[in-house]
Symmetry: C2
Subunit: 237 residues, 2 copies
């Protein structure tokens, strides 16, 4: 946690500047930041500005912080991510790292090689997704919650939604068997599609290409999706 995220409900009613922190965030403030009275901590208001919080009091159950916010969060990454649903453990990490990278729109989609059982994972629930989003924001010092959309059918998503999503962006599908290597520093907004373990099937790649995607390879090595996301973002952004 490099920044403490605050929700409107953390503020004591009638005292706009004082926030009351308990639970996981309190534990973390105490164990990692040694949050003694007077200690200054980087904070951000969810979907709002960033600044500092000064510890002004603490009890067994909570820490009181005096909050001042004054700067905007870092600019969002100009990248929309389309991710074939990975296994639950990878999904958690993928959401965290995509959020840390500043990606603000993520589509989690069906694809032929997605294990059907993954769709029943509790990680896909809003409560779990927001947990991993918050971890990613706290890590990167950002406040803006990305929007995550879940699409359980491949064909209608690609046919009905993709054309609008990729409008005005460079659309890339990461495909291990593509011939062209992935380009560097694309100086425009991007849409990046990453397949499941084993990759998208040829029919899916064809559908992406028909919509205007270009397929690129990142080399012979197969990376876990949670590492492919930063590797590709690091290259194209």
């Amino acid at each position: 946690m490099n920044c403490l995220l605050l929700f409107p409900s953390d503020f004591i009613p009638g005292q706009n500047n004082t926030a009351r922190i308990s639970g996981r965030r309190k534990e973390h403030l105490q164990s990692v930041f040694n949050a003694q009275t007077g200690r200054e901590i980087k904070v951000g208001i969810v979907n709002g500005k960033m600044g500092t919080g000064i510890v002004v009091g603490q009890s067994e159950n909570e820490i009181l912080l005096d909050i001042t916010v004054f700067t905007n969060p870092p600019a969002p990454a100009p990248l929309t991510l389309i991710l074939a649903l990975p296994r639950p453990k990878s999904l958690k990490k993928s959401i965290e790292v995509a959020t840390s990278l500043g990606i603000k729109k993520i589509y989690i989609i069906e694809s032929w090689r997605v294990e059907k059982s993954y769709w029943t994972s509790p990680v896909l629930s809003s409560e779990k997704l927001i947990e991993h989003i918050l971890l990613g924001l706290e890590q990167a010092r950002d406040t803006v919650i990305p929007q995550i959309e879940i699409r359980k059918r491949f064909k209608p998503f690609v046919e009905d939604e993709i054309p609008e999503i990729i409008q005005g962006t460079e659309a890339i599908v990461a495909h291990p068997y593509a011939k062209q290597p992935c380009p560097y520093r694309i100086n425009t907004s991007c849409t990046l599609a990453i397949g499941p373990e084993g990759g998208f099937i040829p029919y899916e790649i064809e559908m992406f290409e028909k919509c205007g995607f270009k397929s690129y390879t990142f080399g012979d090595r197969i990376l876990r999706v949670e590492y492919a996301i930063p590797a590709l973002a690091g290259r194209i952004l």
Copy 2:
């Protein structure tokens, strides 16, 4: 596991082509690859060639594979990684992802902001390091074990060893407070130094720069080290 790694000791003496697999690798072959007789699996000989293994028999405790190897592993990444010792959980993941990326030389070093307790972590033992190396190789379909060097003193490492390590390479230190953004696609061998949580201290950055390192930023966002490695490698390689 995208490739089964084989050791000389896996082969049945006198039968050069038949390997006997038990333990974690056997479980994985059965649960993920559904390794019935006749099934073909991608294999690699540790530090050697790659090819296929055909399941020719199985019992409760082992699987027998008929092995043929015929291709070289992918080319190594032209990158030496210098990593300030991260927390044990991140160290495991960092070793795995660096290995998956094809990095063949990794220095794990001391730095002012490294928590002293991390040096007592069992993850630093050879047995544990090799576990995570093997996971990284199996993931990326590679066979060549990277060399990991551990240096518990910063100053002698930088003064005595760095000049030789960086010879003929572009030497980069990732520094959140640097002014220049990290360049793309460096068409030569690189040495990349990544600091601990909170970054290298100014004195350390100065020492790196004195040796010929350039310090670059990857933007305002702070990534976990296991994600900073692929993000930076994806950009500079």
